[in-house]
């Protein structure tokens, strides 16, 4: 049995997050693992929560369908906090992830701030194995 039963994916709806989620779902199909899309609510997220939850549910279902993973093995989780903090907690219950997957670039403009980026922070602090999936150049999504 694979030691990877649960894969947590940082998900903010960006191109990088969608790419990372597809990679994680492909892996989950091979490993018969489940995937949890983790979205960090942040301080400003309270005003559009209904839309956020609807987007997450739709995205999770669409990604599962596209990759052939049993939809019952895909779920989403909204976490309090910034993306880095939320994913650092993903190794603990209720998610209990064995693997964390993130895109190299999210919504934020972090190209000029490597120390502040979620992926770099996770690489430094995560106690759970981490995969950083390169974000394709905008416009080339799906080319691979």
């Amino acid at each position: 049995m694979s030691p990877v039963r649960t894969i947590a994916v940082g998900y903010d709806g960006s191109l990088g997050a969608r790419t990372a989620a597809r990679w994680a779902l492909d892996l989950a199909v091979q490993l018969d693992a489940q995937v949890v899309l983790v979205h960090a609510r942040g301080m400003l997220g309270r005003t559009d929560e209904e839309r956020l939850l609807a987007d997450l549910a739709e995205s999770a279902l669409a990604l599962a369908t596209a990759t052939g993973l049993d939809p019952a093995k895909t779920r989403w989780h909204v976490s309090q906090g910034d993306p880095c903090s939320a994913l650092l907690r993903a190794g603990a219950p209720p998610i209990s992830a064995d693997l964390i997957v993130v895109g190299s670039r999210g919504h934020r403009n972090d190209a000029g701030l490597p120390l502040g980026s979620t992926s770099h922070q996770l690489a430094e602090h995560s106690a759970v194995p981490l995969v950083i999936v390169p974000t394709p150049v905008a416009g080339s999504e799906g080319a691979t």
């Binding site: 903010d12 960090a40 609510r41 942040g42 301080m43 400003l44 997220g45 309270r46 976490s79 309090q80 906090g81 910034d82 993306p83 880095c84 903090s85 939320a86 907690r89 919504h107 934020r108 403009n109 972090d110 000029g112 701030l113 490597p114 120390l115 502040g116 922070q121």
Partner: protein, 349 residues
């Protein structure tokens, strides 16, 4: 009358983004609350100079400071989904830290009165190595670190509605700082459980009081009495710094606690009594996004500390003690477990 030393005011209009709730008018509202007290010559304002890299490096990594400065100089942008920077933000943040340091210095020199740092951007979410939660540099942490470098024992009380994760992280294993936070839970940033009690060299020197949504002022006071008081008594601080956010006010749009300005006045008297003597209490503006609530609460807090009689909202009560009782039990359990482990392994205090 007791003297008030204001650090700033620094509204930092060069650091703002249209529509963002962390905005210059917050400092203007806070200063309106100060003005309502009509302090006259009992008010002294000190701006200071921007914090030096040496001062900031007591809290923040030099790599982060270098990157943040470069990011701002290159035009700024989004630091995280909540936090922005403009080309002038690094300088504004250094100035805010500097105002806090100047206020603490002025207070130490005066040997009486209280200080209130009316500057932004706020700081308590910023750990040593990143920006988050509207915060770039941790104002109160740098001031506390400066005091620690002078041999002081510093109590930090954080009554912002959000957990002061950055400050907690900075002083997690520092036996010279006792960090106490009351905050709504669950809420951003997701940290601040009662089971977070400090590192091996500072076991018990982090005290978290997570409160259910809707909690009233009596719950906050009970949390300080039942969870924090024993640790504070044992710590015996020589200075008291307060992360004074006002977003736990019932009118604030960012959260769901139910405090009034009268509750903040009561909390101010609690922290005043924790200071070892006059001239050792400084408050730093953190959150608070309803401008009238900020104005009224700042006036209530400083009025209570300075002995200025004025009408404030009645303190609130009635939300029950369940969250505090839960926190007391969780903290006691984890402290007992860690203490036993320390005795076994020799890594405890």
């Amino acid at each position: 009358m007791t003297k008030l030393i204001v650090g700033g005011p620094l509204a930092a209009p060069e650091h703002q983004r249209a529509g963002h709730p962390e905005r210059p008018s917050r400092v203007e509202a806070a200063m309106a609350g100060v003005d309502d007290l009509h302090l006259g010559s009992d008010l002294e304002a000190v701006v200071g100079t921007p914090a030096t890299l040496e001062q900031l490096s007591r809290v923040h990594s030099s790599a982060y400071l270098s990157e943040l400065g470069a990011f701002c100089r290159s035009g700024g942008g989004d630091l995280d989904p909540d936090t922005y920077a403009t080309p002038a933000s690094f300088d504004a943040a250094r100035a805010a830290v500097g105002a806090g340091l100047a206020a603490v210095d002025a207070l130490a020199a005066a040997g009486e009165g209280v200080a209130f740092v009316a500057a932004r951007p706020p700081g308590h979410h910023a750990p040593g190595d990143r920006a988050m939660g509207f915060c770039l540099l941790n104002n109160i942490a740098v001031a506390a670190a400066e005091l620690v470098a002078r041999g002081e024992r510093v109590l930090i009380v954080d009554w912002d509605v959000h957990h002061g994760n950055g400050t907690q992280e900075v002083f997690w294993d520092d036996p010279s700082v006792l960090f106490v936070s009351t905050h709504q839970w669950p809420l951003y940033p997701g940290t601040g459980a009662a089971t977070e009690v400090g590192g091996p060299h500072a076991l018990g020197l982090t005290v978290n009081v997570p409160l259910d949504p809707g909690s009233t002022g009596d719950s906050v006071r009970a949390g300080l009495d039942e969870l924090a008081a024993p640790a504070i008594d044992a710590f015996d601080p020589t200075w008291v710094l307060v992360s004074a956010g006002f977003d736990a006010h019932r009118a604030d749009p960012m959260a769901d606690l139910a405090l009034s300005s009268g509750d903040f006045a009561d909390l101010a008297l609690v922290v005043r009594d924790l200071a070892p003597r006059p001239g050792r209490l400084a408050l730093f503006l953190e959150g608070g996004y309803d401008l009238e609530a900020v104005r009224g609460s700042v006036g209530a807090v400083l009025g209570a500390l300075l002995g200025v009689r004025r009408a404030v909202e009645q303190p609130t009560s009635g939300s029950g003690a369940a969250s505090v009782a839960r926190a007391v039990a969780e903290r006691a359990a984890v402290l007992a477990r860690l203490s036993d482990a320390g005795r076994t392994t020799g890594t405890g205090p």
